[in-house]
């Protein structure tokens, strides 16, 4: 098979440890994805990306860097990729979704830190992820306390530019975020030596809107009954959106959607049309975290939508393309990004409105609200989420979990009981 050892060695990776990660992937992928019946053929591209996840794309980034290009690593859907791309750089997501990286993170972080943070720090410190090695600068944000402190630790390894994200949504906060987008632009210009112009920014805004439209089309297909694609497959596509070349990714998502449209017109699906339709809401599921979706779907219920950052929060709302000067474009970016509803804001009633709207749009029969362990923000907000859903008569279940397999059996039992209730 393809041998990327030289590239990994040049990137300063720990090859022995990395081999263990490579060994675990096929089994996990086979169990979650290849065991499904009647998967869309268009998923082949995404299978390819996963199989080659530490190969093809990192090799592209290496090529880009050889030509003097820069790579910026991001950890939150609030960071506008448009600005990075407009300076001729590449933006890549860096969120860690595997238990494999957690112990390396725990070497420097308290054990009661959310697994997303532990895995992300661990992926860097353990030298087992090429993307974490390739990024020239990490872009952090002041979202949750755990991340804020993690930047200070990562800063010892790699330059981190931290964006100060407001925690309220008043006019002045949107203006403040526009200021932060400007500061990011300055930093990106300084690192790349390229200027962001109204033309390059207009181009990247269009490109990322195009990607959002492709994802919106995919999610739209999931509104059909029977659902033409599993939640696991849709989640995989969303996760890959953070890493892949945006233009290639959008083309592949659109090709997949053509196939799904055909399935819809034939009334073909991957679950029976009377299976309970589940919406998942809560914290992001970074690749390769497929745990909850796998449990729900192997219990016989499709996940039809995610109100998460690896779901609708990533692609809903477009950036206004009509602005022709940098000030107008930066303002348009700030406005679009400030419409994301993350639990780090107070109040965050917009998220509850979104959840209630999405339940209707996707005809969800029940909602599973899932927070990563030790995420205070989402766990606390769960109280209001559950209250609103109950008031609207929508069945809801709250779960807290991490990346380990320890609680899989217990979660399966709870999910089964919830689905039983929905089937009655």
């Amino acid at each position: 098979m393809a041998d990327y050892r030289k590239m990994w060695t040049d990137l300063g990776m720990d090859l022995e440890k990395h081999d263990l990660l490579c060994e675990a992937l096929p089994g996990a992928f086979g169990e979650v994805f290849l065991s499904q019946e009647n998967r869309p053929e268009g998923m082949d591209y995404f299978n390819f990306v996963v199989a080659e996840i530490h190969g093809v794309r990192p090799a592209e980034l290496v090529e880009h860097k050889k030509k003097g290009g820069k790579v910026f690593g991001t950890f939150c859907v609030y960071v506008p990729d448009e600005v990075i791309i407009a300076a001729g750089a590449i933006a890549t997501g860096l969120c860690g979704g595997s238990q494999f990286w957690v112990p390396d993170g725990e070497r420097v972080l308290p054990a009661n830190t959310c697994p997303l943070i532990k895995a992300s720090v661990g992926a860097r410190l353990g030298r087992t992820c090429p993307f974490f090695r390739l990024a020239d600068v990490y872009i952090g944000e002041t979202t949750c306390d755990g991340k804020k402190k993690a930047w200070e630790i990562l800063q010892q390894e790699v330059p981190v530019h931290v964006m100060d994200l407001p925690q309220m949504k008043r006019e002045r906060d949107i203006a403040a975020w526009a200021g932060e987008v400007r500061l990011l632009m300055n930093r990106v210009e300084e690192v790349t030596g390229n200027r962001v112009t109204p033309e390059t920014l207009a181009e990247s805004i269009k490109q990322i809107n195009h990607k959002r439209k492709a994802l919106a089309r995919l999610y739209n297909a999931r509104k059909s009954s029977p659902v033409p694609i599993s939640g696991r497959d849709a989640l995989l596509v969303s996760q890959i959106a953070f890493y892949d070349d945006p233009a290639r990714f959008s083309a592949q998502v659109n090709a997949l959607c053509d196939e799904l449209d055909e399935r819809i017109s034939k009334g073909e699906g991957v679950f029976p049309s009377d299976a309970p339709r589940i919406m998942v809401t809560g914290t992001p599921m970074a690749i390769p975290n497929w745990k909850l979706h796998h449990i729900i779907e192997t219990c016989g219920a499709p996940v039809v939508v995610e109100e998460t950052c690896t779901g609708v929060r990533y692609f809903e709302n477009f950036v206004d393309e009509s602005k022709v000067d940098l000030d107008g474009q930066v303002q348009a970016l700030a406005e679009r990004y400030m419409r994301i509803n993350c639990a780090c804001f107070t109040p965050n009633t917009g998220r509850i409105d979104d959840i209630l709207r999405l339940v209707k749009e996707y005809k969800a029969d029940g909602v599973i609200d899932c927070s990563l362990q030790f995420c205070t923000l989402y766990s606390t907000e769960s109280h209001l989420v559950q209250q609103a859903l109950k008031k609207a008569g929508i069945p809801v279940m709250h779960l807290e979990t991490d990346y380990s397999e320890q609680d899989t059996g217990q979660i399966r039992t709870r999910v089964q009981a919830f689905l039983e209730m929905l089937r009655k």
């Binding site: 098979m1 393809a2 990327y4 490579c22 096929p26 290849l34 082949d44 199989a51 996840i53 530490h54």
Partner: protein
């Protein structure tokens, strides 16, 4: 565990020296309607990252003919019991 007497199904994973050859064969097989899926090769077959093509056992002969006709370079074909190939041997 399989009940006694039940036939074991096998999956065949076609292995490649690089992803270009794999993608080429993927295209050729699709063109003649042989069902195949891009997948990471199972642990039992190789320990490197990369792609393989998963083909059902009964389609492997026609797939071999395509490989010969197109001159795609492969590194072998691993035949793995279905349970083990999609459950990671857990």
């Amino acid at each position: 565990m399989l009940p006694v007497g039940e036939r074991i199904n096998y999956d065949c994973y076609i292995l490649f020296p690089n992803h270009h050859e794999g993608l080429r064969l993927h295209k050729e097989l699709k063109a003649v309607g042989i069902k195949c899926t891009i997948a990471p090769p199972p642990r039992a077959a190789t320990s490197f990252c990369g792609i393989s093509l998963l083909v059902a056992e009964d389609l492997i002969e026609p797939a071999r003919q395509v490989i010969d006709r197109c001159g795609v370079k492969i590194e072998g074909i691993a035949r793995i019991p279905r349970e083990a190939s999609t459950s990671g041997g857990k």
